[in-house]
């Protein structure tokens, strides 16, 4: 087994502009935080993103004197393709082959370089057709990440996408985990909106905030382009209502830039007529209260959700 019941793990969110890391001791009644840190990624083109992120991670390792040998990582949403596919149980092809066929028409890269995963987005039923949410990326890019981790002397035991990692955190921040929840995570110039039920991702959509940066707005994030974020959320809600027949969004959670801005909170509350919260992700940890006052705390939602995921059948807490 990769994981034992009590183990220190390092979770790393490989963002486009910044990487964030938390080291958590799993296995207790509540996971315990060892440290959290962030490191800016040097600017550059998209094709050098992996190398720039690994360089930033190396710097983070050097500064923090990290001795953990096993790493969990999320890759940026910008290099991941997501879509909903339908599995027909009557067809001869396996579900994986059907997913692969469905992806062929929407891949922006060579289909031979494909790496994907999928999961059902509807409760188990007896119907012959079921919808699955697929995430796909380039195998060569993943391999570059894995090679980079090996050069740093660590082994990546789990690699996920950011919305799935955030989805693992959301049930831990809720009073009732039955409701369907929408979450917005905003970094400096990109973000995503994800709809989750319990810790299962039903749908997610990435968006960028390029209009804000192009105008030279100094206040980065959601506060500078509220209308655009609102439109993106509106598109997602429309999709959710139109294709998934879900219209009972329980609440909206905000993470990242602008999550502590009252203007943003009020805007979203009034536009979608839904409760808006910005919970501190560190509250799910045993010693998380000490970090609650940190204004950057909500930026660590994705990476803390990653650290709280069940890995190889071993939950984060006993």
């Amino acid at each position: 087994m990769v994981f034992t019941k009590s183990k220190m793990v390092l979770a790393v969110e490989l963002g486009g502009d910044v990487i964030r890391a938390v080291q958590v001791k799993r296995g207790g009644r509540q996971p315990d935080l060892a440290f959290y840190a962030a490191q800016n990624v040097a600017p550059g083109t998209a094709d050098t993103l992996v190398e720039r992120q690994l360089t930033a991670l190396e710097e983070l390792f050097r500064v923090q004197h990290i001795g953990t040998r096993e790493v969990l990582a999320t890759i940026p949403t910008s290099i991941v393709v997501t879509r909903t596919a339908q599995i027909d149980k009557q067809r001869k092809e396996t579900p994986a082959e059907q997913v692969q066929t469905a992806l062929l028409n929407c891949l922006p890269f060579d289909s031979k370089d494909l790496l994907f995963d999928y999961w059902p987005i509807q409760p188990a039923n007896t119907s012959l057709r079921s919808d699955v949410l697929v995430v796909a990326t380039q195998a060569s890019v993943v391999q570059r990440y894995l090679d980079g981790f090996e050069k740093l002397g660590v082994t990546c035991v789990h690699m996920d996408v950011a919305p799935c990692a955030l989805a693992s955190l959301i049930p831990l921040t809720q009073q009732t985990s039955e409701a369907i929840v929408g979450s917005v995570a905003i970094s400096r110039d990109v973000g995503f909106f994800v709809i989750t039920e319990r810790n299962r991702v039903l749908f997610w959509r990435p968006f960028d905030l390029n209009t804000a940066t192009q105008k030279g707005v100094s206040v980065a994030g959601i506060g500078a382009s509220l209308e655009r974020v609102g439109d993106e959320i509106s598109k997602c809600v429309s999709h959710m209502v139109g294709t998934m027949h879900l219209d009972n969004l329980g609440e909206l959670l905000l993470f990242g830039y602008g999550s502590d801005d009252l203007v943003v909170t009020e805007y979203l509350k009034n536009r979608f007529n839904v409760a808006v919260r910005n919970p501190s992700p560190f509250a799910v940890l045993q010693n998380g209260d000490k970090i609650g006052a940190d204004k950057q705390a909500t930026h660590y939602g994705t990476v803390l959700g990653l650290a709280m995921q069940e890995i190889a059948g071993v939950p984060a807490h006993g």
Partner: protein, 204 residues
């Protein structure tokens, strides 16, 4: 949640981790075994060294004990000889016998060597019930002529307070200085009597 790590990589990592564990366990086992063997070897060396030290000590003590035993034996022999001498000096029969024999020598006779044996001939042969108080005196000396030798034998054999049996064992003529003398060996034996008993010792 999604898993984007390729299966081949996961298998490779699991294999590597397992190999690393086995190597670690093997190294640990080898280290422990090596430590055990080294410890046993060092213990063996220490034991051998201790045994060698004890052997050396034992040999030294054994030599000392041997020397002590030898010294004790020599002292015992010396004490026994001194005891014999004391007994002989206290033996009045022997003194009287020697006085008697010495008185029978004339001016023509010269005693060179005298051997006194206080054991009887039967005692010498190992008889358990051999009588004690038997003195055998062997006289070696020279005399001027065969006539004087005969006269000496006659005087020695003459009746006296302690009768002795005189026997000429051998005589021969030989040159001495600017003349010739008769070298003789006479055996005088005083047999045991009830009145006088010897110590049963030998003195030369």
């Amino acid at each position: 949640m999604a898993e984007l790590i390729p299966m081949a990589y996961r298998v490779r990592m699991a294999t590597r981790r397992r190999v690393r564990r086995w190597v670690l366990a093997g190294t640990l086992a080898l280290t422990l075994a090596g430590m055990g063997v080294s410890g046993a070897f060092l213990d063996e060396c220490r034991t051998a060294s201790a045994v060698a030290r004890l052997e050396t000590s034992r040999q030294a003590r054994s030599t000392l004990f041997g020397q002590a035993d030898e010294l004790v034996a020599r002292r015992a022999i010396l004490a026994e000889r001194m005891g014999k001498l004391q007994r002989l000096s206290d033996d009045r029969v022997l003194v009287s016998l020697l006085q008697q024999l010495a008185a029978r020598f004339s001016t023509n006779d010269c005693l060179e060597y005298m051997h006194i044996d206080t054991r009887s001939s039967a005692h010498k042969d190992g008889a358990a019930d051999a009588p004690e108080g038997v003195y055998t005196v062997r006289l070696n000396g020279v005399t001027s002529t065969t006539q004087s030798l005969a006269e000496l034998l006659t005087r020695l054999s003459a009746p006296a307070r302690m009768p002795v049996t005189v026997m000429l064992e051998k005589s021969n003529r030989e040159n001495l200085l600017d003349g010739q003398v008769i070298r003789f060996q006479i055996n005088c034996e005083k047999t045991s009597t009830d009145k006088s008993k010897g110590a049963g010792n030998t003195a030369g």
